[in-house]
Amino acid sequence: MNRAKAIEIENLKTYYNCDSGDVVKAVDGVSFGIGKGEFFALTGPSGCGKSTIGFSVMRLIQKPGSIISGKMLMDGYDLMALTEKEMRKVRGARISMIFQDPFTSLNPVLTIGDQVAEAPIVHLNISRVEALEMAESMLKKVGIDEPALRMRQYPHQLSGGQRQRVMIAMAVSCGAELLIADEPTTALDVTTQASIMQLLEGLKAEEGLSVLFITHNIKLAEKYCDRIAVMSRGRIIQRMK
């Protein structure tokens, strides 16, 4: 592995402190790196900590949980050393995340256009009109037909596959280098799964996007990913390819 790294994670530990006093070591000393333009799969049984790694990298671990230690190096900077305000500039701009359930990951009361335009408005210091134009071209890029019409529609008017495409458009609209895909295809049927994976592959080829692909579908991981790490009980127990 001599190519440049998109991110290098060293000895990450994320624990959850339960009310009962127990400490759940969801991620217990995990290290791995993802190269630029690489598809890296994290797989393993439910509750093994793979999603927690995704949220840890975003620094979006919710309250009872916290990142105990570890380094997450991106271009030589440690994400752990950033303030919350600085981290906000990383989220959505350099690292993005898409989620398992495209049915609940879009805000039901906002139009598709407004939601895709949000990241550009937050990060790029451009006007709403420009952001909406950008959003429309992003929708076209992720393979949504009739983007002009979709811009004005609400999430409930779209199919699951289309919504996941919208999520991807939101995630990559500001040129993120790393996409954390937390079971992006689990809620979709097999044909739609394949088309979403092809879309991600296309983005990798065109934009040099790196993907941290979290899944428990090991066949899907084998087919599309460059390297696979298998997790169990908070540790990586096997590395493949």
């Binding site: 975003m58 979006l60 906000r88 500039k89 990383v90 989220r91 959505g92 701009a93 993005s96 995340m97 989620f99 359930d101 609940t104 990951s105 879009l106 805000n107 039901p108 009361v109 906002l110 949000e118 990241a119 937050v122 990060h123 999520m167 939101m170 995630a171």
Partner: protein, 267 residues
């Protein structure tokens, strides 16, 4: 609005309310007399020259009711707007941040709720000059607690939804998430509560004016028209019936519209 339109009672109530607002807005053009003009013919029964009769000073009750509608309805709207704004603010802050802030605000709400509000309003009103603006402010500032509890409960459930996590994941800030992502998702039940609160505000204004601490004569509100009528219940029943019925109809219509909205929006 399909379900609302099917609800005949709600549609009828909305129509009546609309006509009332229209009448209140156009009061100077509709009213046949100056509502403050004293006449020589006091306590006249309803007739073609005075549709609703005249009061103890010979003033035309129809004209006074029209101008009273302006006061009563605008007190309702402004007081509810104040209570919704304040309630939204505290509910959003406590629901979103949780912890100490939430505990502090919610205990404050409990304290506010433990006062019998009519006495609180009366106490405040006796210290202020009783005019329509103070009435609006006082009613608004003593009725926001229900809204804040409602908003807090909704925020607690909405902030755990995946799309809020998704908004964080694209780098949205706290205030942005509150205003742009959570707020539109909690408005439906607040609209319903606000509608019902308006009926309460109109009743409170009437009660205050009835007790002489609300809108002061010679300005007319439905409440102080009722107060004027006390001495003439037997001799001139129309004096109390007209404003009483107007309050009844308005409050009933607002409740019916509120119920219709609740069915429509699922509040």
């Amino acid at each position: 609005m399909r379900r609302f339109r099917k609800n005949k009672a709600a549609v009828a109530a909305l129509t009546i309310l609309f006509l009332m607002v229209l009448a209140a807005v156009l009061a100077p053009f509709i009213a046949p007399y100056d509502p403050r003009e004293l006449g020589v013919t006091a306590l006249q029964a309803p007739s073609f020259s005075h549709y609703f009769g005249t009061d103890d000073f010979g003033r035309d009750i129809f004209s006074r009711a029209l101008f009273g509608a302006r006061i009563s309805l605008s007190v309702g709207v402004v007081a509810v707007s104040i209570s919704v704004l304040v309630g939204f603010f505290f509910g959003m802050i406590s629901g979103y941040f949780g912890g100490f802030i939430e505990a502090f605000i919610m205990r404050f709400v409990d304290v506010m709720l433990s006062f019998p509000s009519i006495f609180l309003i009366l106490a405040v009103q006796t210290m202020l000059t009783p005019n329509i603006y103070n009435v609006m402010a006082v009613i608004g500032l003593t009725s926001w607690m229900g809204v804040s509890r409602l908003v807090r409960a909704e925020v607690l459930s909405v902030k755990e939804r995946p799309y809020i996590e998704a908004a964080r994941a694209i780098g949205a800030s706290g205030p942005r998430i509150m205003l742009r992502h959570i707020l539109p998702n909690v408005t439906a039940p607040v609209i319903v509560a606000g509608t019902l609160g308006m009926a309460g505000a109109i009743l409170t204004e009437s009660a205050l004016s009835f007790l002489g601490l609300g809108v002061q004569p010679p300005l007319s509100s439905w409440g102080n028209m009722l107060q004027d009528s006390q001495a003439y219940l037997r001799d001139a029943p129309w004096m109390s019936l007209i404003p009483g019925l107007l309050i009844l109809i308005t409050v009933l219509c607002i409740y019916l519209v509120g119920e219709g909205l609740r069915e429509e929006l699922g509040g």
